[in-house]
């Protein structure tokens, strides 16, 4: 009896999971399909799902009109740069909060997270002015800095959670074995936290890759990443759905591929310590 119920429940859960999965995935699928349509077909009503004249015309137009690879390389530099810089700052910070917590550690963590609750637009003007006066507008280094700061609370929080799973005695053993603070972090803590660090790294690359608010507002030409590349297809001359879709597909493809290959690592990292 119990078995019958659990099978039915299993089926129900499976159906729900698939429904949610499809609902989330559908817009992406639609974007990809639209990118292979002509502009006329893209706005046709009723829309055709699979039976239309497949064309690569949008991709070649997009590449001709705006240099995909320049935007791509900007995206790579900005997302990897900000994530690596963030890790460099966050590893020691998370170490100290996880292993030598003070009276205010919890408050500091909460405070850091609270900065994520502020609408970014609230600080857009001051940051824009700062960037303008320091010559950081439309520079990659400027974006790396701003995205590092934006994502730092998340990086610190994630690492803090992973580090806390590492038994303190192992670090004490390292100290007894003659390891100074830096050796302890490099030879013992970091290797043990690799799964956690890797998933933090991946998640932050994805977040920075997709970050649109700051990248759109603080860049114009030189440092413009793929978000700006997409945005450039949704304006002055009207909407070009097919070209916009082609640009979007080209922008999400690299991160989708990275995500696909690292999904095991991501899941393992995100559930680190949940199961022993």
């Amino acid at each position: 009896m119990a078995r019958a119920v659990s099978t039915r429940r299993k089926a129900l859960v499976t159906i729900c999971a698939w429904a949610v999965g499809i609902a989330i995935f559908f817009p992406i699928l639609w974007t990809v399909l639209t990118s292979f349509k002509t502009e006329a077909e893209a706005i046709a009503s009723p829309p055709s799902f699979l039976f239309f004249d497949w064309t690569l015309e949008n991709y070649s137009t997009v590449q001709e009109r705006s240099d995909y690879f320049r935007h791509f390389s900007n995206s790579v530099i900005i997302s990897f740069g900000s994530t690596l810089l963030g890790l460099l700052i966050a590893i020691p910070a998370a170490w100290s909060m996880a292993f030598v917590p003070g009276k205010r550690t919890k408050d500091v963590l909460m405070w850091m997270l609270s900065t994520k609750m502020l609408p970014p637009v609230g600080v857009l003007i001051p940051i824009y002015l700062l960037f303008r006066d320091t010559g950081l507008l439309d520079t990659r280094i400027g974006l790396v800095m701003v995205l590092t700061l934006i994502n730092l609370p998340i990086i610190v929080w994630m690492l803090f959670t992973y580090f806390r799973e590492i038994p303190g005695e192992i670090l004490e053993a390292a100290r007894m074995d003659g390891a100074e603070l830096w050796s302890e972090i490099v030879y013992v803590l970091t290797p043990m936290a690799v799964p956690g660090i890797a998933s933090t790294l991946l998640l932050n690359i994805i977040l920075s890759w997709n970050e649109a608010f700051w990248t759109l507002n603080l860049t114009a030409v030189d440092a413009a990443p793929l978000t700006a590349f997409i945005a450039s297809y949704s304006s002055p001359e009207g909407l070009f759905y097919a070209k916009l879709s082609a640009a979007s597909t080209m922008a999400i493809a690299p991160i989708l591929i990275i995500g696909w290959f690292s999904q095991k690592q991501l899941v393992r990292g995100l559930t680190f310590g949940a199961v022993k």
Binding site: E169, I170, E172, A173, R175, D177, G178, E180, V188
Partner: protein
């Protein structure tokens, strides 16, 4: 060398003082065991010596040098943890070599020392395995190996055997004792198991609530416990305590008699009681005897097999020179 002196050290966590001012001298080459019930501060005391906790006041001297402010890495002590605390991402070889690597010793010398330690500890065949692939006893040996290679001034053991099963515990106990015989290095060993303390120690430090109750050799503690706490803690099975008219007769508030110092007879003796539970081990027989006017059953240990069973009336006689007398402060009356 490995002489350690604790001078008036205290430790507080917040407002709670877990170690009141305490003095202790540990001589070079001694095997010292800190023993006491859980929460008595024995592990904290060890961690203060290791430098893993800072003392709240007082001084720690190692080999004549003030080490109070010296970080653990620089104290020249090695520690074996209860959880073994091996580095899970390193092979056994790298685990054992880690302290040498931290000390900047060259690769060839590292390999030679690791090989020597592995040989002593029977780990040669396991050097390329990860700690996760080893049994509890092997892991413990790796932890000891990691401590040996750095040739420390003293070894600190924090309940190293409590995660092992009973048979293995006895083996490892012997191995650690043998190691002490051959290395002649100071060892400080924390345990809550008084059998480990009795069998391994040159000197036992009995702790309760952060205070030292008594320091002495195992037999000193066994024969002349300074107070009722030490008397009850050292020795297995536990000492029997009697009060009231039983103690009055000896001019004491409490008297204590060890189970092995009671003779049991069917016909005559000093005290009368009824056998509750009897445990027959072959080598020994333990009788738990209920007596009028005594709250807890009196434990009697007789060597060999004696035929008393549940419900039998027995007569007990304490060996007159083995009766411990305590005053109303629970202190020993000489």
């Amino acid at each position: 060398m490995g002489q350690i002196t604790l001078n008036q050290i205290t430790k507080s966590f917040g407002d709670v003082q877990v170690i009141p001012p305490l003095d202790l001298q540990i001589d070079d080459g001694e095997f010292v065991v800190f023993v006491g019930p859980s929460g008595c501060g024995k592990s904290t005391l060890l961690r203060l010596i290791a430098g893993l906790e800072d003392v709240s006041s007082g001084d720690i001297t190692i080999d004549g040098k003030n080490a109070t402010e010296v970080p653990p890495a620089k104290r020249g002590l090695a520690m074996v943890f209860q959880s073994y605390a091996l580095y899970p991402h390193m092979s056994v070889r790298k685990n054992i070599a880690f302290p040498l690597r931290m000390a900047g010793i060259d690769k060839a010398a590292q390999d030679a020392k690791v090989a020597a330690a592995a040989k002593v500890l029977n780990l040669t065949d396991y050097l390329d395995r990860r700690p996760g692939q080893l049994s509890g006893g092997q892991r413990q040996r790796v932890a000891i190996g990691r401590a040996i290679v750095r040739e420390p001034a003293a070894f600190l053991f924090d309940e190293p055997l409590s995660n092992l099963d009973a048979a293995l515990r006895v083996n490892m106990r012997l191995e650690i004792s043998e190691l002490h015989q051959s290395l002649k290095t100071t060892m400080i060993y924390v345990t809550h198991d008084q059998v480990e303390a009795m069998t391994m120690a040159d000197k036992i430090v009995v702790l309760q609530a952060g205070r030292i109750e008594q320091v002495g050799s195992p037999l000193e503690l066994y024969h002349t416990p300074r107070n009722k706490f030490v008397a009850g803690f050292i020795g297995s099975p536990k000492m029997n305590f009697l009060t009231g008219s039983f103690a009055d007769e000896f001019d004491a508030a409490t008297i204590g008699v060890r189970p092995e110092h009671l003779t049991v007879s069917q016909s005559d003796g000093k005290w009368v009681g009824k056998v509750g539970v009897s445990e027959h081990l072959g080598s020994d027989t333990f009788l738990y005897v209920d007596m009028d006017g005594v709250d807890e059953p009196i434990t009697v240990r007789s060597s060999g097999e004696i035929g008393f069973r549940h419900g039998d009336i027995v007569h007990l006689t304490p060996a007159p020179d083995k009766i411990h007398r305590f005053d109303n402060q629970d202190l020993r009356i000489a």
